[in-house]
Assembly symmetry: C2
Homo-oligomer: 305 residues x 2
């Protein structure tokens, strides 16, 4: 197996993980959680989103969160921004990196951003330009890169077109979002085979949700194809508001377990991550659904017979 020696984990729990949580987490709860994440060895935390509070009430305190967290040196604290207004708020709050986002699926883009794909480009272009002028790095997100809840299977060509436009705008990294968590390794391979001739593997990140339990298998395939950056969320957070099941992001702690056992270094301390997961578990008043957390709670004990 040809595998990278080092992998970068980008923790998206405080944003992608929390955004659908019904239980409103108070600002100080988010801040102490992010502070506990900051001492795990992570080099990147997506702390919040500067979308209009009407859309994501849970993250309405983005500016306060960014201002109150204790910054670790060398750690990038990022936030999502949908437009110039969001960018202004993020810059004012002292964000290190901003993320712009859109979808590879026309229907999902319209449903999520309320604009066509073509009408989204100029908005993001403006944000990327202004962010760059402010000296910030910019991450692009493309969602529904393999399947869309409305359109079904998304051809890799559609993902390539949107990705090219984002790189032309000047983004520094592109995160490819398997938003609904239905992908299998053959599809990941097909997508990356289409993208890698056009983009440097080092400028791409994979962002898997785990609805069907295939996220780790998809990550292994991505690793074999040269991808070295993965998004994940502590505790597998990120499911639907009404979903008890495991439809969230791939769990950071389960990903760390696998990578470390495979001899791949992440610089992240799994024990420290589990402590941080216990903290947010308490705050959210619900058991986190990762395998590592189940084992920690004594629910997933190894069977000796």
């Amino acid at each position: 197996m040809k595998l990278p020696k080092n992998v970068t984990i980008k923790e998206v729990g405080p944003r992608d993980g929390l955004q659908n949580e019904k239980h409103q987490v108070p600002t100080e709860g988010k801040v102490s959680w992010i502070d506990s994440l900051s001492v795990t060895g992570l080099s990147y935390i997506e702390v919040s989103s500067f979308v209009h509070p009407k859309w994501i009430p849970q993250l309405a305190d983005a500016a306060n969160v960014l201002k109150q967290i204790k910054r670790e040196q060398g750690l990038t604290y990022a936030a999502l921004v949908p437009n110039l207004k969001g960018l202004d708020g993020a810059l004012e709050a002292g964000v290190d990196e901003v993320s712009v986002f859109m979808s590879a699926s026309e229907a999902h883009n319209r449903s999520n951003i309320n604009k066509s794909i073509d009408a989204t480009y100029p908005v993001l272009e403006e944000v990327v330009r202004e962010a760059k002028l402010a000296g910030k790095t910019v991450r692009g997100y493309v969602s529904t890169v393999i399947s869309c809840p409305y359109e079904g299977y998304i051809a890799p060509e559609k993902v390539r077109v949107v990705s090219e436009r984002l790189f032309e705008m000047g983004i520094d990294e592109l995160s490819l979002g398997e938003t609904i968590g239905v992908a299998v390794p053959t599809q990941v391979e097909q997508l990356l085979e289409n993208l890698l001739p056009h983009f440097d593997a080092g400028s791409l990140a994979m962002h898997f949700h785990d609805t069907r339990g295939t996220a780790l298998a998809n990550i292994v395939k991505s690793l074999e194809m040269g991808i070295t950056t993965f998004d994940s969320a502590l505790g597998g957070l990120g499911g639907c508001p009404y979903a008890k099941g495991a439809s969230g992001n791939v769990a950071t702690e389960d990903l760390l377990y696998m990578l470390h056992e495979m001899g791949i270094e992440t610089g992240v301390d799994l024990d420290a991550v589990l402590k941080s997961a216990q903290l947010i578990e308490k705050t959210l008043c619900k058991p986190l659904r990762s395998r590592q957390m189940e084992i920690l709670r004594g629910e997933g004990k190894e069977c000796l017979s």
Copy 2:
């Protein structure tokens, strides 16, 4: 990706899945569950175990289960047998195939079978010989092929030695058990790289537990290395008696989802399998922990945002 076109799924839920369940399932509950499994397109079901009831009270009714199920033509109904006494019972009950079992780890073998590895060989040899004389095919199980709860990492060489002895006895297929569910794809690759020069890939099956959520990733690696037979248990059954978490076998329905999405045929109808899972869920009075069952219960709904 080089993948097989067809894969055989061997359902071990009624044996490996149930054996640690606290809730005693009445014989008729097992029989109607197995009957529902028989019409899913599965070609192999491990229905019970003829070990002494003292060790696994849940499976004390093995003979009655075998006698009462409605046999589908072409379907192999198998059972575990530890010794000649167990074999007699299994043959008398009309088993199609018997499985003998031992461990690649000395400590696990002693704990599980109460004998050293060397003292186990003659017992199994006798069983294989008599089963063959009775015209039955024999499956061999080697457990703890990657890690042992007592000895830790198990060198592939140890697995090879035990496997060779079992094939010399005349077993028709060998199932390699990753008993405690901690393996990662690099370890699976290392194991198979060591075994495949000695054994035909078609005579090997992989048996993964999913404690760390890595089973599907391990199966993909096994597929890429030419393995075409996999053991799984409906609903991911097979955890510890006191474990609420997902430490059981890889779930048949999650495996089927992935294989089918990868374009690999199994001959098994996922919808029929889910109906069978709902039946045993009712009988066990607890929600099964597979992703497909979570989705069916509306817990794992895809998130559209």
